[in-house]
């Protein structure tokens, strides 16, 4: 018995030492790292970046196209100075603070990781970012929109801002202003009611809209909410109808958004109300509803037209590639943002990476500085420029008019107003 | 001194009058048997006294004070302990625990004691344990020794009955109420228990009320026998008086065919 134990241990130790010796064999390279240190990519290894998106659960429709957008961008970008880029296994932010933190822990534990594309949800970023930031990494989100993560656009840091955070998605405040300006100035509506559904995103956007609308001189008659899972919207619509607003803005998701659109008819006080939704309802299963006809939708400007990323790809090329690879259309609108975020990160790495002694060195502080300098970089979503708090998006809000539930594609292109600061 | 005094108690369940204008009393130190055919209302009678049921009207006084409206645990705390006809032990608890838990209302350690194992707590636990072993020891070697830490469900039927009596004893009652204590026991065991019931009074000083079908037991232990039928007392007095009472014979024989 004793014998067998001994030899098994012997084997394990032998194997371990042999490998350790092999790993330590290369020469010590010359590279002076900055304050945050640097990542060394040895010859034959790959540059490590990660994708952290909501790829399971009820927000997977948002996270999966983001994740795939990142994968496609990495493919398109190709090598950086002769080194491959590896996204690793996609991580799941579970669209929650706890999930974001746990996943960020996994990322931060791996000192080879340079940067992260994610998260899908702002709540996850709130908890993930301190860890990512602490580890000296950068994170570029394709779909966080909470102002708290960057700034209030007036030069004040958001309460959840962390150094190293960037995003290609628009700030909610932009969309709120865009939608409010359109409603107040273009449509000439002066009273509006707002409904959110208790989701941090819809609540934030609803608030941004309400604030902007009032700042323009309009009146928010009711600011109220429903719950996810509610079906009977008559009570909330009755509450709203009591004040007879001219506009009803409900930037919420399906199916609750559908129930509101379906049940609004026949509620006293809402006979002539103009309905307006946001990007969360720009989905086929909502727009197929006959009741959604005549609605306005605010959202990021998806008219990418001939915009080309630095990789040379346009939205059309991307969609073709996406369809070819995954056999379906993207289920949410932020794929282009994910693509741009990835390209942005890879370009920045490309710019700061230094070759030395066969290894590639990426200085972490230099990478942040590089991203802070981004200005007028072409992307699928438009020209990208980062402000000092990491808002890098093209920041263009489009308002579309949905006229025909039978032709959703046409509606999506029917931009009636475009807001760009 | 009258320990338990029941006056004009009536209870009915949805039209069926289980106990009808019953009068009953137990003197300190007495052993009283309550007999009657199935469905005569005997167990309901027990439930009334121990607070598991509330009378529609009437009085129940224990030691001169009304106990109507008290919760069962309060009645136990006043000093009435009972067993159940269909043996209701705590099967997953050990034999020792079964008896220890019955001293709940005689003890007082709450949070700090157990948490910090204070001196007072340890003393109380020791006392509980001592009392428990004492009542278990009353039944000879059957329930002690290695048995103490066995769960109650491994016990044989007769031992379950014994443990139930021990558990009732452990509540330190003045009035002990036994619901068919020898049901399911063989003649030898019955004889043994008959003897023990006598000791419960003579050595432990309990006053005892028994519901029983086994007439030998009733004959051997009772000072007084009360016969219930349809919730009404049809006879009471000494065993000999009752056993020859025509109403009693009719109550038993007259319907025994249709019963059960």
């Amino acid at each position: 018995m004793y014998k067998s134990k001994k030899w098994s241990r012997g084997i394990a130790l032998g194997v371990a030492f042999g490998l350790a010796a092999a790993a330590c064999g290369s020469d010590a390279p010359e590279f002076e790292a900055g304050a945050l240190g640097a990542v060394e990519v040895k010859e034959g290894e790959s540059i490590q970046i990660r994708s952290l998106e909501a790829i399971s659960g009820d927000v997977a429709f948002l996270g999966i196209p983001n994740d795939r957008g990142t994968a496609l961008a990495v493919e398109d970008y190709g090598q950086i100075k002769g080194f491959d880029v590896d996204v690793g296994t996609s991580l799941d932010d579970l669209c929650s603070a706890d999930g974001g933190q746990a996943a960020a822990q996994t990322i931060a534990a791996d000192e080879d990781v340079v940067g992260v594309i994610g998260t899908s949800c702002s709540g996850a970023a709130t908890a993930a970012m301190p860890l990512i930031s602490n580890a000296g990494m950068v994170m570029i989100s394709p779909s966080n929109t909470s102002p708290a993560l960057t700034s209030d656009l007036e030069g004040n840091k958001g309460s959840d801002y962390n150094v190293g955070y960037y995003r290609t998605a628009h700030n909610d405040l932009f969309q709120g202003r865009g939608a409010a300006t359109f409603a107040f100035e273009e449509l000439g509506l002066t009273t509006a009611a707002v409904i959110h559904d208790g989701d941090p995103y819809t609540n934030g956007l609803a608030q941004a809209f309400a604030d902007a609308f009032e700042a323009l001189g309009g009146t928010v008659t009711t600011f109220t909410a429903v719950n996810k899972g509610d079906t009977d919207m008559t009570p909330v619509l009755t509450e709203v109808g009591a004040e007879s607003p001219e506009l009803l803005f409900f930037p919420i998701f399906m199916p609750e958004g559908g129930f509101i659109a379906q049940q609004v008819a026949g509620v006293p006080g809402l006979e002539n109300v103009q309905l307006m939704g946001a990007d969360a309802l720009l989905t086929d299963n909502f727009m197929e509803l006959p009741e959604s006809e005549g609605m306005y939708f605010s959202g990021p400007d998806l008219q990418y037209g001939s915009n080309k990323s630095t990789t040379g790809k346009s939205a059309e090329d991307f969609l073709a590639a996406y369809n070819a690879k995954y056999g379906e259309e993207p289920s949410a609108a932020f794929w282009a943002h994910a693509y741009d975020a990835t390209v942005l990160l890879l370009t920045a790495i490309d710019n700061v990476a230094v070759e030395s002694g066969g290894s590639l060195f990426i200085d972490r502080q230099a990478l942040r500085d590089e991203l802070n300098k981004v200005s007028g970089v072409p992307g699928i979503t438009g020209s990208l420029s980062c402000d000092e708090f990491g808002d890098c998006g093209a920041q263009k809000i489009a308002l579309i008019l949905h006229e025909n539930s039978g032709d959703i594609a046409a509606s999506k292109e029917n931009v009636v107003y475009s807001y760009a600061p | 001194m009258t320990l338990l005094d029941i006056k004009n108690v009536t209870i009915s369940f949805g039209g069926l009058t289980a106990i009808d204008d019953l009068n009953f009393h137990v003197e300190e130190g007495e052993i009283v048997s309550v007999i009657g055919p199935n469905g005569a209302g005997k167990t309901t009678f027990f439930n009334l006294i121990t607070g598991l049921a509330s009378p529609d009207h009437g009085q129940i006084n224990f030691e001169g004070e009304s106990i109507i409206g008290l919760d069962p645990n309060e009645i136990t705390a006043r000093g009435i302990g009972r067993t159940f006809q269909n043996v209701r032990l705590f099967p997953q608890m050990t034999i020792l625990e079964n008896v220890m838990v019955a001293q709940h209302c005689r003890t007082s350690q709450k949070i700090w004691g157990p948490l910090f194992r204070t001196k007072a707590y340890k003393e109380e636990e020791a006392l509980i344990r001592k009392n428990a072993e004492e009542v278990l020891g009353f039944f000879g070697p059957r329930l002690i020794g290695y048995r103490l830490h066995q769960p109650a469900f491994v016990l044989s039927y007769a031992n379950r009955r014994r443990l139930e009596i021990a558990r009732a004893m452990a509540t330190q009652p003045r009035l002990l109420m036994l619901d068919e204590p020898v049901a399911g026991m063989n003649p030898m065991e019955t004889a043994e228990l008959t003897q023990l019931i006598g000791k419960l009074r003579s050595e432990w000083g309990f006053t005892i009320v028994i519901i029983e079908h086994d007439m030998r037991l009733v004959r051997d232990v009772s000072d007084r026998v009360v016969v219930l039928d349809h919730g009404v007392t049809i006879a009471q007095g000494s065993y000999d008086h009752v056993s020859t009472h025509p109403d009693v014979i009719e109550a038993y024989l007259g319907r025994s065919a249709g019963d059960k």
Binding site: F223, G229 | F206
Partner: protein
């Protein structure tokens, strides 16, 4: 240690403070409701409140939603009456009906059965029949697999099992049919027109009529048929029923099946009314329906239906009539909280529900 030597050493104090506390809660709740109502009345008198049309609308939706709660509640109530446990998975049986409604109605719609009046009625019947079959089969399967082996266990065991079944079914359907919410085809335009002097939408009238007919059918079944009598006997006392020659097992299955059928009907009505179903459709309505059954008195069929209507109504009306006048914002968010609060209050005031329970003797304790 002898009893005569000592008086009881220590007597636990009575539960006075618990009772006192409960009384305080009761009074507090009544006061809260009272103040809310008063504020509402003042608001109405001041002319700032809701219009008559708005209030009528709230009542009509409340009642149609409540009718569905009632139909689902029947299943809970019957099973509770017979077996004495909450069949938590009953909400999922309802969901199964609703999902099958989505599939059949979409197929029928694609084949043009959703247009003319006669065709639509026929299509609706087909959808109903299929949903009833699906729900009934689902509930029978659940009973066979998960509950029958536990017939003799303590009551909490099947309850926990049913929670497991509920989660399993929810997520199985989620996996099978995907997470997106499914939209049912819109009923023909004449269904959404308003009828009668109350100006009720056609769909809602249809929902109420079907609910009423199902309820009546169930009543006839339970009160007038032999099987129904057997069910009542089993509910009263299983052993005696068995002695009377009733096949207890079969009767229990029938009870589940009938409850499932009602849930299936409710599922279709749900689809008609809200036109949206998903794997999670069953959960909340299921809990609400059980709440309704408790409110009305479990085991009491009329009571369950009434409890459902009441709950639907309260849910729809109370946020605007009690909470909003108190100055609470976004009251619709608190709709579910109101429903559960109603449950707690009803149980505090009437632990056996408004109309009394009808349970087997052993379950009453």
């Amino acid at each position: 240690m002898t009893a005569t030597q000592r008086k009881p050493q220590k007597v636990w104090k009575t539960n006075n403070w618990v009772d006192l506390f409960l009384t305080a809660i009761r009074i507090g709740a009544m006061a809260f409701i009272g103040v809310g109502l008063l504020a509402f009345v003042l608001e109405q008198a001041g002319g700032e409140g809701l219009t008559g049309g708005a209030i009528r609308g709230l009542f009509v939706t409340g009642i149609s939603q409540g009718a569905m709660y009632g139909l689902i509640a029947l299943g809970y109530s019957m099973v509770y009456g017979v077996l004495g446990f909450i069949n938590f998975a009953h909400g999922e049986v309802f969901m199964a009906g609703a999902m099958s409604g989505w599939i059949t109605s979409t197929i029928l719609f694609e084949n043009g059965m959703w247009e003319g009046e006669a065709k639509f009625v026929l299509a609706l019947l087909i959808v109903l029949v299929i949903a009833v079959i699906v729900s009934t089969l689902a509930t029978i399967l659940i009973e066979r697999v998960a509950y029958r082996p536990l017939r003799e266990s303590p009551r909490l065991i099947p309850l926990i099992t049913s929670i497991g079944v509920s989660f399993f079914m929810q997520n199985a359907v989620l996996g099978l049919f995907g997470p997106a919410s499914k939209t049912l085809p819109a009923p023909p335009p004449w269904m959404s027109a308003e009828y009668t002097f109350l100006r009720i939408e056609g769909t809602k009238i249809l929902v109420l009529v079907i609910a009423a007919v199902s309820m009546a059918g169930l009543w006839v079944f339970v009160e007038r048929t032999k099987t129904g009598k057997a069910m009542r006997a089993v509910a009263e006392d299983k052993e005696i029923a068995a002695l009377m020659g009733i096949d207890v097992n079969r009767t229990i299955v029938t009870t589940f099946a009938v409850g499932g059928a009602m849930a299936g009907v409710a599922g279709v009505l749900w689809g008609l009314l809200f036109r949206g179903v998903s794997a999670l459709t069953g959960f909340l309505p299921g809990i609400k329906a059980f709440t309704a059954a408790v409110i009305g008195g479990v085991g009491n069929l009329g009571g369950s239906m009434a409890g459902g209507l009441l709950l639907g109504l309260v849910e729809s009306v109370a946020p605007l009539v009690i909470l909003k006048p108190l100055g609470i914002p976004a009251v619709s968010q608190l709709k579910d909280a109101v429903a559960f609060a109603v449950l707690v209050l009803i149980l505090l005031f009437k632990p056996t529900g408004l109309f009394g329970e009808r349970l087997a003797a052993e379950d009453r304790a």
